[in-house]
Amino acid sequence: MSSEQFIQGIIGGLAIGCIYSLIALGITIIIRATEILHFAQGELMMIGAMAGISAMWMVDLPFWVVLLVGMIGGGVAAVTIELSIYRTLRTLRVPLINIIISTLGVSLILQNAARLIWGSEPLRYPPLFHTRGIDIAGFAISPQLIWIVVLGFVMMAGLQAFFRFTRLGIAMQAAAQDPEAAQLMGISVKRTTTYTFVVAGVMAGAAGVLLGSLFFASFNMGFLSGIKAFVAATLGGLGSLTGAMLGGIAFGLIETFSGVLISTAYKDAVGMVILIAILLLAPSGIFIRAGRRI
């Protein structure tokens, strides 16, 4: 492996890892707030990608507007399913496993609705960036990958700041940690749960535009990415924000390098073997110290 391949592997792995992190963050905050394993998170990402590409078909937009449209698309889709389905199910007090299965139903609905609307052919994103490679230390690096890494990190930092410094963010954290105590402090847990889905949808929507710009947008792009993000969240320690971010990035790097070093056919398998190994050696994930959530 040459040093050029190595640098490109690092940047490529970071870029795809950031996308997994954004989806994994959504999965994590939903688990923290509601204990639901949200299998439709990948589909929210797909909706974001589709919303972005549809906006671009109508008018020629600068990249950041497309990203914003994708985020709004993901957020709107998330809040719609939360209010119409998950909240209803919670009100009916069905067991958790039923809600988890219903997210699989939601994933099926979103996938096939998207197929009806946008067709089953993969859609190519118009070039969003200059395609000429940037020269870094003598190596040609695609500016698109660098943008994805930068934007990914900015959004993750933004999310951290939101949870640490804003009133709503702190209320959401409190409601997730101890719903009853939060309720007594005057926080509407019902509302923070809905906001949790909005934030998760926005993150997934952003991931969708980034992933779409890298490859294609298609109705079935979501499920496998969602599963991988789920694995990434577990890798970092299910339920930890930092864990989800680092887990996503670690999974992206593992996937990229095992594709280069071992075999492209088995790159997903390598990620899964590492996942199982980590679950055995450090059941709470690699980035959690002795059960403490960071």
């Binding site: 067991p95 039923n98 609905i109 599963i227 398998a269 679950l279 059941p283």
Partner: protein, 325 residues
Amino acid sequence: MQSATIRILVLVLLVAAPFIQTNTYWQHIFGVALIGAILALGLQLLVGMAGLLSLGQGAFYGIGAYVSAVLTLHFGVPFGLAFLTAGLVAAISSLLLVPIVKLPSSSLAVATLGFNIIIYLFMLNEEWATGGSYGMLNVPLPSFFGFKFTTERDLYFLILAVTAIIYFGLDRLAHSRFGRALRAISQDEDAARACGISIIRYKSKCFLVAAFTAGIAGSLYAHHARYLNPNDFTFNKSIEILIMVVVGGLGSLPGAVIGAIIIVLMPEFLRSSGEWRLILFGALVVVLMGVSRGGIAGLAPMVLRFVPGLRNSAGKTVESVEARR
């Protein structure tokens, strides 16, 4: 007594099905539904009784299917032997999961999912063994002591017989010491341990039995469909089996059978709705999850309550369902 009558009624209905519907396509679908029922029964033991959320049953199903197909196609092994070997190989490969059975449920779900992806990639890429993405063609029809199962109806009865045996076996198992231990584990692991139940050993045995069941279901699938492709054994299959179990009702064996039949037949009935088919299917899954706590098995007594004259017996069913939890 009441539930025994219902069981006999269902059995009679299942035996009569291929005589009522003589179209071979439908008879084939009925067979597929019963194979789904075997898979759901196996997973019911894991999820419904032991509370182990496994998303890896599709892998054992695939292992069983390929073992059976390779043995009969390339080595000329008779069906009966290949059938049993398929179950055994699947069960033995479940021993790979022994280290991970101690994980908490969400991690266990991800780990078994990962296992399924690994096995799928093996089936897809090791062309010398599985034919890769081209799949395996012309898997021989099953035969047993010289009797060849050639028509769809014969195949259906073969599958029905296996389903009945599996059902009976798991029913016995659920009411044995083993079944009670599993239920104790699913309710309170620490208390179960304090009562002298070896958690890891019971959970591993549970995986072993479920994997054996999935393996023989895979063998039946191989000789029923006669064409294997790795795409039939992705984690989507595992999730589909989980949907069958939850739709049917967690913890209920008849529920698993009914859930499987519904999940396999529903897309067929929705076929006329064309492109809306899978959207409707997803919506139905969501609605079913909402209307009833215990899936179809929990819904049946609710419906029966509205039928006058059945009120007493329906009440009893509710009690027995509650008692079983």
